[in-house]
Subunit: 221 residues, 2 copies
């Protein structure tokens, strides 16, 4: 028979996954709205993000309740602490989706810079990181979480390339400065989403193995 | 006589405050290094941030240990959950200080855009928010925490003004596009630091009052 605690924990995980689903949709709609020049899709992000915000509060309440009533130990405690952090990162991914939506709305009002340089490539990469970070949590898959961490460099490299290309376009035609700034900010927003995926992957490693790898990894030569 | 738990909690708070001190110094050195065109000061940020990272791990370990060994309830539990989150926000402020340092190093290698538009003003505002967010935690001062939340709009307004001024400078002289981008990114970094101060203030309100005001406030008309 399932312990009461296990049932509560399963419910909490499902809440978190539901929230992750909304976050992924917010990011998708922001980027696809930009790519397809679809203002309605871009604006849908704002409503989805409000749902994410409500879910965040619910998840946090569940975590505090579980800590208070069940006083979990060891691996369960680590998991709940990890969920508190993952919850924050998911909500901030939602904020970044809103930032992308804002920058995309501004971009669509301007003469487009085409093509969208490497943004679609960067988007695919970041989307994959988000998906795998969430999957690593679901499956308690430490190897997959560590795989997410390794992909961060590719995203940084794409961002650098986008910056270079956009700067060149802006210098070639100062009439494109406003549009260029929008794309640079969107690349930054995507980079931040990748960072949050990385944070989630680190929390998964911590929850599964008890090892705090956050700065050990970042400070490697 | 002080309970063992109270002593541990006091120690944890002191750890967090020590870390906050490093974070404030990292932000100061990044911005003053830019303002004073002082590369050594800018580079000092990288070392300080490594200290912040180490402190973050220590604070998190203390939180998990306190939760496991003392199984705190109600207000103590809320405080520890708040500290877990504040710890994350402080560490990310440190990341933003590093971003400011990076962008400042790039900026100093270029023909300067002078004056630094409203960046010094924005810096003072953000610095005040960080200070008061930390003070509101130390004093368990809900009113001060709510005051921090209200100041976020002023920071956003300054950022908008900086964007407008820098864009105008870039359009007036495309030779300044690279320098302009640096300042725009620094303004974004400062805005993010202000957001983290806001997050901390929200966590203080939660810890003190048990009220989760995060999205109630943000979604007010």
């Amino acid at each position: 028979m399932e312990r009461h605690f296990d049932a509560s924990l399963r419910e909490l995980k499902e809440q978190l996954l539901g929230m992750a689903g909304y976050v992924e949709r917010a990011i998708d709609n922001a980027v696809h709205g930009l790519q397809g020049r679809n203002p309605a899709k871009i604006r849908s992000v704002y409503e989805i993000e409000r749902t994410v915000n409500r879910e965040q509060v619910t998840v946090d309440e569940s975590c505090v309740r579980l800590l208070a009533l069940q006083q979990p130990m060891a691996v369960d405690l680590r998991l709940i602490v990890a969920i508190i952090k993952i919850n924050t990162d998911l909500e901030r991914m939602g904020d970044q989706a809103v930032n992308i939506a804002n920058n995309s709305e501004r971009y669509l009002a301007l003469e487009p810079l085409k093509p969208l340089v490497d943004l679609p490539l960067m988007f695919d990469e970041v989307k994959g990181m988000v998906r795998d970070a969430i999957n690593s949590f679901v499956r308690r898959d430490e190897a997959l979480a560590r795989e997410v961490l390794r992909r961060d460099d590719a995203v940084d490299e794409l961002k650098r390339r986008i910056f270079t290309d956009v700067l060149a376009a802006m210098k070639g035609d100062p009439g494109r400065i406003d549009a260029g700034i929008c794309l640079i900010l969107i690349a930054r927003n995507l980079e931040r989403i990748g960072d949050h995926a990385t944070n989630i992957a680190e929390d998964v490693v911590f929850a599964v193995s008890g090892e705090d790898i956050r700065h050990a990894r970042r400070e490697a030569p």
